[in-house]
């Protein structure tokens, strides 16, 4: 069990919220400013957001979630790892990505000038906003990026039925 599992404010991480718009340079700039302001004034001291955790020196992969009408795609930046170092699982509508980024073997006469990369165990949980086809989930590791594709469920009772509105 990771220590982060014990923290009560972990749930905040799970919420899916629109965070970035790329269509317009000014909107992007405004979003960046918003994010900076949020970080300065609204960030709780022990927030579990990646940037805060990275400052404490632990590896915490950044995650993007995108979707179209057929599938949800979760990507995570996990450079310098191997597909065997990452474990992906799905239960009760929650996608879990966990693993460990190992530091290089320490050699005797190494003198470090700069250490910015972070190492250690990590665990991310992403709650899906809709039901997905569990048996068709695929995960791929390529060029330091993990991509998990979760096809949305097509069962009629999940998709819902559109009810026409009649004129009374």
């Amino acid at each position: 069990m990771a220590i982060t599992d014990l923290l009560p404010w972990k749930r905040e991480e799970r919420a899916l919220a629109p965070r970035r718009r790329e269509e317009d340079l000014f909107l992007t700039l405004r979003d960046e400013m918003d994010r900076m302001m949020e970080e300065f004034f609204n960030e709780p001291l022990f927030s579990l957001r990646p940037r805060m955790l990275e400052r404490f020196g632990s590896f915490f992969p950044r995650v993007d979630v995108s979707e179209n009408d057929k599938e949800i795609v979760v990507t995570a930046e996990v450079p310098g790892m191997d597909e065997n170092d990452v474990e992906v699982s799905f239960k009760n509508g929650i996608l879990t990505i966990k693993g460990e980024k190992r530091a290089e073997k320490e050699e005797k006469d190494r003198r470090y000038h700069r250490i910015e990369r972070t190492y250690g165990s990590f665990r991310r949980e992403i709650e899906m906003p809709c039901e997905v086809e569990e048996d068709k989930i695929t995960a791929t590791y390529k060029k330091g990026e993990l991509t998990v594709v979760l096809p949305k469920s097509t069962r009629p009772e999940v998709v819902g039925k559109r009810i026409p509105v009649q004129r009374g």
Binding site: V63, S66, P79, G80, E83, K91, N92, R111, K143, G144
Partner: protein
């Protein structure tokens, strides 16, 4: 909904060769996280460049300034909308001033799993030499 946790097997994909295109793009540029260490003979630089491979990294050593640029490519589903974002897509660029003389003929660079490993051997003059002290 199944009660037991399903483990999803991760497939490893080897990136396909991409066509060379002109590398001038209006994208954001990020500073990649880098470790630099020195051994007796080499200066070693390890840089995280997620999304980049050996074809999308440019390394330039001009005088004593080392510049590394990377142009990662990300495959995304068609007609997708971004629901939640923690990392921005863009290029990587970073420069370092090297204090030691480098043996330019024997620089080695490899990219593995989105991480660049660059070994810069010190030139003869920059290598430390131990001076033997004789009894007088």
């Amino acid at each position: 909904m199944a009660e037991e946790t399903k483990s999803i097997e991760i497939k490893k994909e080897t990136p396909l060769a991409e066509e060379k295109t002109e590398r001038i793009r209006e994208r954001r540029v990020y500073l990649p996280r880098t470790d630099i260490y020195e051994t007796r003979d080499d200066l070693v630089l390890v840089m995280d460049l997620p999304g980049a491979d050996e074809k999308s990294v440019d390394i330039m050593l001009e005088k004593n300034v080392l510049t590394i640029k990377a142009y990662p490519t990300f495959e995304r589903p068609e007609n997708y909308t971004l629901a939640y974002a923690e990392y921005g897509e863009g290029d990587f660029e970073r420069s370092f001033a090297l204090s030691d003389e480098i043996d330019r003929e024997h620089i080695e660079a490899r990219v593995k799993n989105g991480t660049l490993y660059l070994r810069l051997p010190k030139a003869g003059a920059a290598k430390p030499t131990k001076i033997e002290v004789k009894a007088g």
